[in-house]
Point group: C2
Chain length 198, copies 2
């Protein structure tokens, strides 16, 4: 995590892309690649849940019973591919994932977990009561009878906030054929920009 | 590679998704995760170029000067995340990548490489003449003066066909909350279907 003083150039661009695609709900979806315990890559579509307050770290959520939570605990390396369909821009964001489940000890991260939980819809919160996602269906699963937990209640224990601490960004703009690489320097304080051939 | 007699269920579904999204050009884009030589994941948006004739293997193209070509030669494991925006379906296709550059010895794969090359636009073919993509821009790069190669000429040596031999598919349909896993059995002849909790 890094305190933001001025926003890095990649984030200013990304926020402009999000704004331009405000009417396109799926522009908040991106693909997250991680490494499985056997070393193979894993890839899935997830929803952007904003930046962690005061940082350039990207928030997403998952069910703690999902593979990616166990995967990231073993190997936190991750890369996001985020494509914007109207502007034809692509961001590749690579960094390290921190999984914030109910037992994570950092209070600021627990506060962020609760804040993201509060911001979700009833329908989205209700899924954390469902039978274990990704497990084989037996037909004997019981769907919960209770209503979804209210937004002002603490997050369910299955609810995991994931935070991607971004170390490097590759930006590619197909129409204009411009491409940049942004890298966080060793001190973690400033970003280097390098123009690349498209 | 596996000869197709009857299409596996995941491919029938995938073809229906493609048909439903025929008017949405970016529905042919998906995200491909591979492993970098240092073990970190890599992820980028690529374009679907059809199935390799007579198989369920997925074709895509790349410039041989790109990282992913060297990456896949070292570690062929890959996973595609393919999200369809209207139907809200996701396919995760995992398998092994074969890179078919100008020196690949398999004639059937060279024929496929030439066929995909012929099917591309002039603009797409012209890019394979450009300065090395992803290399730092010096400002001294020379853009090619010659016209793009004609479609009926052999592919340029920088043109690489990539073929993903699919071993496992995870299908997820957000609206109806159905989820299936399809796995190729050990003999490579038949697909097992397993319903999972969504």
């Amino acid at each position: 995590m890094m305190a933001t003083k001025t926003l890095p150039a990649w984030r200013t661009k990304l926020q402009a892309s999000l704004q331009r695609h405000e009417g396109v709900p799926f522009s908040k979806f991106f693909q997250l690649a991680t490494i499985k315990p056997d070393g193979r890559p894993s890839n899935r579509t997830v929803v952007f849940r904003g930046f962690l307050e005061g940082t350039n770290d990207i928030q997403l959520v998952s069910d703690i019973r999902y593979n990616k939570v166990a995967e990231a605990a073993r190997n936190p390396a991750a890369e996001v591919a985020w494509y914007f369909t109207d502007s034809r821009e692509q961001y590749r964001l690579s960094g390290l994932l921190t999984m914030v489940g109910p037992d994570h000890e950092n209070q600021a991260l627990q506060d962020a977990r609760a804040a993201v939980w509060r911001g979700m819809s009833d329908k989205a919160r209700a899924q954390y009561l469902w039978p274990a996602p990704g497990a084989p269906k037996t037909g004997k699963e019981e769907m919960p009878q209770q209503p979804p937990p209210a937004a002002d209640q603490p997050p369910l224990p299955t609810f995991c906030l994931s935070v991607l601490s971004v170390k490097e960004v590759d930006y590619y703009e197909t129409n204009g054929q411009t491409r940049y690489k942004y890298s966080l320097d060793g001190s973690g304080d400033s970003w280097q920009e390098l123009e690349l051939n498209a």
